[in-house]
């Protein structure tokens, strides 16, 4: 990729747009708009830019359903919505999954529909930071907003995550590089530490890299806790790390003024799952006896945290909530998506703003072969290959305004920069239509 000339041919700039990609929700993007198209975007990282400058070839623009040969063909909105509503209204165990890449406004009718038909509602947390939520429920959650790190932190630790790949502006906008109130020199006033088996792109930038061995995360953190509590380590090497390095690191962590620990799916996806997070949280709690430490999970989608917040305030539980008994029930491993699919329990699968085709293990996706799948999304993706009804939504944060919650739970109103394609409909509208149609079918059958 060589040098590209800056884009100068545009009608207007829409300032302070919020990026609809990762949980960093950068809200300083400037979209350059010409003829109702975003022709360039300023301040975004490679990920954000690629999403906003979308691939229009694969944009879902019309509702589609399968014909008798199993091919997706264009149908009228009425036809598609009625067919979807019919499937939902007549199902016994509907499962509504996704929601992390749409707005809170679209979740509201979604929850209403869930309550009406007694469905299970779940989001991507179920396959990413679900174990984090469980750990939080075990041991607590010492958090902060990202500006606290920017203004105060002199030590920043990343583990089980690689922000330079997954949250590219995290270091530059929030944690490591920016100049803060008490950290006037920015990067020079901070120690950046990465604990990761791999020499990841983030490790390459770090002052200290601790390459503990694969699946060694629990043991390593446990050793730090032991040292912190004044215990002597009895082995020379723990989780692949020489003990003197562990002593040295512990001392450094104790002697910072303000430390922040960020962790990602590297901790939640390995075998120890929530226990990894348990111990990481307890480490931070222990460190607070000596100095100030906080932590934050690196949330992936721009509104994955939003869904957990939304469900918590509406119904008291964060994700995987089952309404089949007329009241909300939350049982990890029972009312959660992968488990419902593994057990072949769901009989209709509505997926909105998510891509299980790309992100669920095939063993779970196999059940989608046997049941009808309704997809609400903006691009033709792997899930479309499994979908029976496809409803084209609009792009939150570019074509439609809406509310989202950043990884640190800061709420943001995402503005719109351009109008959506004429044949597409907002997620909120689609879900509300489904709700109204299901209501009608239910009333008629009374």
């Amino acid at each position: 990729m060589g040098y590209e000339e800056p884009v100068t041919d545009y009608d207007k700039i829409v300032e302070n747009c919020t990026c609809a990609f990762c949980g960093s929700n950068c809200d300083d993007l400037d979209c350059l708009v010409k003829d109702n198209h975003v022709v360039a975007v300023r301040h975004a990282c490679r990920l954000g830019a690629s999403k906003i400058m979308e691939d229009e070839d694969q944009r879902l623009k019309v509702p589609m359903m399968r014909n008798e040969n199993g091919e997706l063909v264009e149908v009228e909105w009425e036809t598609a919505l009625d067919a979807a509503a019919e499937l939902i209204a007549n199902s016994v165990r509907p499962l509504f999954y996704g929601w992390s890449e749409t707005s809170i406004e679209a979740m509201k009718p979604g929850l209403e529909l869930t309550e009406l038909v007694g469905a299970v509602i779940d989001n991507q947390a179920t396959i990413c930071h679900g174990p984090t939520v469980q750990a939080v429920q075990n041991v607590g959650y010492p958090l902060m907003t990202l500006g606290e790190v920017k203004n105060r932190a002199d030590m920043v630790v990343y583990t089980g995550s690689n922000p330079m790949n997954a949250h590219p502006r995290h270091l530059s906008r929030y944690t490591t590089f920016p100049k803060g109130w008490f950290r006037k020199r920015g990067r020079y006033d901070r120690t950046l530490v990465t604990w990761d088996p791999k020499y990841s792109d983030t490790a390459k930038l770090s002052d200290i890299w601790i390459p503990f061995e694969e699946n060694g995360d629990y043991e390593f953190v446990n050793a730090i806790r032991a040292v912190l509590k004044g215990k002597k380590l009895k082995k020379d090497v723990i989780a692949g790390i020489p003990t003197e390095d562990i002593y040295e690191l512990t001392e450094k962590m104790k002697n910072t003024q303000f430390g922040a620990l960020f962790f990602g799916l590297g901790l939640t996806h390995t075998l120890s799952k929530q226990r990894n997070i348990d111990i990481a949280i307890q480490l931070v709690q222990d460190l607070n006896k000596y100095t100030k430490w906080v932590l934050l999970p690196m949330r992936g989608h721009f509104n994955v945290n939003g869904f957990n917040i939304f469900m918590s305030y509406e119904m008291g539980f964060p994700y995987g909530v089952d309404f089949c008994r007329g009241y909300p029930r939350y049982m990890i491993g029972e009312t959660t998506t992968i488990d419902l699919l593994n057990r072949k329990e769901a009989d209709v699968f509505l997926v909105i703003a998510a891509d299980p085709g790309a992100h669920f293990p095939s063993g779970a996706n196999m059940h989608l072969v046997d049941i009808p799948v309704i997809q609400i999304d903006i691009h033709w993706g792997p899930t479309t290959e499994l979908a029976d009804i496809v409803l084209p939504g609009t792009f939150i944060g570019v074509e439609t305004a809406g509310t989202s919650y950043r990884m640190d739970s800061v709420p943001l109103n995402m503005k719109k920069a351009i109008d959506p394609p004429e044949t597409c409909r907002e997620d909120e509208w689609i879900v509300t239509e489904l709700l109204n149609r299901v209501k009608k079918i239910k009333e008629a059958s009374k």
Binding site: A49, P131, N162, P197, D201, G266, H269, S362, P382, E385
Partner: protein, 162 residues
């Protein structure tokens, strides 16, 4: 601008020059997850294209491991685990050295070989999976073809008609 043919990979070591014992099958630990190329391509929506196959249908390996197998960048390898088998490209990892470990970015290819077991924790096991890698002469499938082959959701019905 954000479009790419394939991720930029440095050719770290010429495998034929290296003094390593050749093996037919390599035992490895498989990790999956996101990387920036996969993320950009997926969220842009270019999943039907060759680019997606190049960014997600690829196993990033330690150059030494590749030398042992006798494969180079963008050769096909077959990765097998207890949950399935899939053909992906091999490529030198940017994060090497990490002998005995391979990384496949999340996507339909990785899904075939990761575990759907949640151990009652809601979350499947995407990382730290035992797998084997061997040379393959098969072509890596494009996303749509892979989905058809793996799931056969609509092809089955056609067969029944026949």
């Amino acid at each position: 601008m954000t479009y790419i043919d394939k991720p930029s990979i440095s050719n770290v070591i010429k495998f034929d020059e290296l003094n390593v014992a050749k093996v037919d099958q390599l035992k490895v630990m498989l990790n999956t997850g996101t990387d920036i190329y996969q993320g950009a391509c997926k969220k842009r929506g270019s999943t039907l294209k060759d680019e997606y196959r190049k960014v997600a249908g690829v196993a990033y390996m330690d150059p030494k491991d590749m030398a042992k197998l006798g494969v180079g960048n963008w050769d096909s390898v077959l990765v097998k685990s207890d949950w399935g088998a899939v053909v992906v490209y091999s490529a030198h990892s940017r994060d090497a050295p990490h002998e005995g470990m391979i990384f496949i970015p999340k996507g339909p290819w990785a899904n075939v070989i990761v575990s759907n077991e949640t151990y009652c924790c809601s979350d499947p096991t995407y990382k730290g999976i035992e797998a084997t890698v061997e040379k393959s002469d098969k072509e890596v499938l494009l996303m749509a073809d892979l989905m058809k082959e793996v799931y056969q959701k609509y092809t089955k019905k056609v067969k029944e008609v026949d």
